[in-house]
């Protein structure tokens, strides 16, 4: 495999409340020999607030960053955050569909964006460009004996015309990665149900209802942890887990981990390196279970070797 190298857009959350996603992404990329070059002086993607103002405006806010990537001489922007990804993909989609729209967007910008850049999620890079064969080569501590359900959220695969990634109704990219790093992936029917997104602040009850349903289904599926790829989903499911318990009358304590953190664990990185200790819900029990699983596996392997001898 030739060396992969991309323009990297962390996004606002990843340098603040979701720092652990950024850190684990960079570490995993490093191990997998994927070069991520941070886009110099990137700005906010605009997210959904910009879309409520005007689509032209929203596209311009996003396209400023795409124009910088163009200037870098790169053709792909990679971001771990699905919200940012969606903002970029929509800007590109709308601008390439309508030349007049493109011209108007560029009139708002200092430097025009000429549509020579595509946006991809880091998950897509892992699944399509790196591939499970290359990931499996780096696994030294497989996550044996734990059940992890992948929670994709809304925007990674939807709408299919814009997202152009995985199956919009039954995505399997995270499932595949989780299986590759040794985890057991039970049937999970809430892979795509919305967690309530940015309404955490303004409409808490909505978020605790929706996120509560997701956690309930995960636990009913026998999950020890939920894997996520979105900082907003992580925040709703992890930071707000106590609010969920309070509002909905649950008593859940299920760790919500970024897919990159789980990969890092399997690559032999420590929980603190991956900032797993920075989450609200403690992962201690989950991590112990992994260690236990590993030991049991080693033991059974030894037994089988000695019995052969």
């Amino acid at each position: 495999m030739s060396k992969l190298s991309f323009a990297y857009y962390p996004g606002c959350s990843l340098e603040s409340s979701a720092k652990e996603y950024d850190v684990s992404t960079r570490k995993v990329a490093d191990i997998l020999k994927v070069e991520l070059i941070e886009i110099p002086d990137w700005s906010c993607c605009g997210a959904s607030p910009a879309h409520t103002v005007d689509h032209l405006f929203a596209s311009a806010v996003a396209a400023r960053n795409l124009a910088i990537v163009e200037e870098m001489g790169r053709d792909t922007l990679v971001t771990p955050c699905p919200e940012c990804l969606s903002a970029f993909k929509k800007a590109i989609y709308n601008m390439s569909k309508d030349d007049g729209f493109k011209k108007k967007v560029n009139s708002l910008l200092d430097k025009p964006f000429n549509l020579n850049v595509e946006a991809k999620s880091f998950l897509q890079i892992l699944y399509e460009d790196v591939g499970k064969e290359n990931i499996s080569k780096k696994v030294i501590k497989p996550l044996i004996g734990v059940n992890i359900v992948p929670y994709y959220g809304c925007l990674l695969t939807r709408p299919p015309d814009v997202a152009q990634f995985d199956d919009p109704e039954n995505p399997i990219s995270m499932d595949t990665i989780l299986e590759t790093i040794g985890a057991n992936v039970p049937y999970f029917s809430y892979k795509l149900e919305c967690c309530g997104a940015a309404y955490g602040v303004t409409k808490r009850r909505i978020v605790t209802k929706l996120s509560g349903d997701i956690l309930k289904t995960a636990i009913e599926s026998g999950a020890d942890a939920v894997a996520v790829a979105c900082p907003l989903c992580q925040q709703n499911l992890d930071l707000r887990q106590d609010q969920i318990n309070r509002d909905q009358g649950f008593d859940f304590h299920i760790p919500i981990l970024y897919i990159t953190q789980l990969m890092g664990l399997s690559f032999g990185l420590s929980a603190s390196e991956l900032m797993i200790d920075k989450h609200n819900v403690k992962s201690d029990h989950f991590l112990e279970k992994i260690e236990k699983g590993l030991k049991e596996k080693e033991k059974s392997e030894k037994e089988s070797i000695s019995s052969k001898n």
Binding site: W42, S43, C44
Partner: protein, 188 residues
């Protein structure tokens, strides 16, 4: 629901406006309800999304723009993905928000307030400054205790920045805002 006088309240211009801005043909909706069936926010909406589509079809501008639903839609795109008539429903909801904003008809003031503060932060720093956003929102919404319980959970983790990151090209971001506003003024 109150009686709707279709003779006096039907606003064809509104139908055209939504169709033009969204690029979607609203008349193609045959009210199957699949969007409502898959909408995670249906329980919280005052009008389920299929009824919003129906209200647009019969030109009920006031009801649509004054609905909570359009502000509670999180653009999860489930409706768009599954619509048998290939209508980009989420986009239609988005357009309704934009029109409501322009016409100063916002039923969910808090949601809009949060969005405004968010964008203000972008305009000011180039990126968002999470703590500032939350504090301003609490102050302006008068809901001083919003997420106060989360503070002790997240602050000790040392992830949040206590100072904004001001990017070098923040004026180029600000210019997007000003040019956009000027553009609207010029058009008017």
């Amino acid at each position: 629901m109150a009686l709707i006088n279709l003779t006096t309240s039907t606003d064809e211009n509104f139908v055209n406006q939504v169709e033009t801005l969204s690029g979607q043909k609203i008349s193609e909706c045959y009210q199957c309800g699949k969007c409502t069936a898959g909408c995670p926010f249906s329980f919280a909406f005052d009008y389920p999304v299929s009824q919003i589509m129906r209200l647009i079809q019969i030109g009920q501008k006031e009801i649509v723009l004054n609905s909570k639903a359009i502000w509670l839609c999180a653009t999860c795109e489930a409706c768009t993905t599954r619509c048998p008539c290939q209508i980009d429903v989420a986009n239609v909801m988005d357009i309704c928000r934009i029109i409501a904003r322009k016409e100063n008809k916002v039923k969910e003031k808090d949601v809009k307030l949060f969005y405004d503060i968010f964008l203000e932060s972008v305009k000011k720093h180039g990126r968002i400054f999470e703590i500032e956003i939350l504090m301003k929102y609490n102050l302006k919404s008068g809901k001083l205790l919003t997420d106060a319980d989360l503070g002790p959970k997240i602050l000790p983790k040392g992830k949040l920045n206590f100072f904004p990151v001001n990017i070098k090209g923040k004026d180029s971001v600000e210019k997007i805002f000003t040019r956009f506003v000027e553009g609207i003024k010029n058009n008017e």
